[in-house]
Symmetry: C2
DNA sequence: TATTTGTGAAGCCGATCGGTTGCGCATGTA
DNA sequence: TACATGCGCAACCGATCGGCTTCACAAATA
């Protein structure tokens, strides 16, 4: 089963989990308190996020603390870059056009 | 069926379509040439993207040109902002810590 | 030691996904 | 008028999703 970060953030619950554990490491039970679904479902989401290599985990006794590897969010940012680039190019062209029009006017 | 932009970009084919029609408007047939799936599948993807209000379309005779409303990509960018903010805060705190350490040293 | 607590894994289930084929229909063209 | 083309829609299908319940097991606690 091939997973990627875009699939990871497709689910709204998973997005909310990511935001939670971006700030601080949390246990599955701790996370589950914020939602109306079972602890096991949360665990399943954490497993998916782990498979995307988005999580760091640290065991403390019988508790496991999960935290977002926040720098992984850059992958999305990088994907967005192509659109920013296109927007930028259009802006440049528009600028060029305005410049040309202005010169014609004179 | 509730759709959002995060679900829209979850599928790799859909992401590729978005990139294609970000540059210029294209017909379903034109888009389909770039993929190994049927024209109908492409249409299905376009429908999903439309439901997320990501597309502008223009009819020309029997052809329909689809184009990405590129500014809609900002929604993803805005979601990423929360993580940027957290990173920034950590950087500030680190800076503060280094400053404190430096003063103690003196 | 016996019990409680925190966790992951497995199996179930209805809903959805992402592809397919087979239409119907409007628009161009011979 | 007849035919070809471009398109959307509906039905089908196997795979996956995102919940759930049940279980096993290790760690903490009585």
């Amino acid at each position: 089963m091939r997973r990627d970060i875009f699939q990871a953030i497709a689910d709204p619950t998973r997005r909310a989990i990511l935001v939670l554990i971006a700030v601080q490491a949390m246990t599955p039970n701790g996370i589950a308190e914020h939602f109306d679904i079972t602890r096991q479902s949360i665990s399943k989401h954490l497993r998916i996020l782990s498979e995307c290599d988005l999580l760091a985990q640290k065991q403390e006794g019988r508790e496991i603390f999960y935290e977002l590897k926040i720098e992984k969010m850059k992958e999305i940012d990088i994907w967005l870059d192509q659109f920013r680039k296109i927007i930028e190019e259009r802006f440049q062209n528009l600028d060029q056009l305005l410049f040309t029009l202005k010169n014609k006017k004179k």
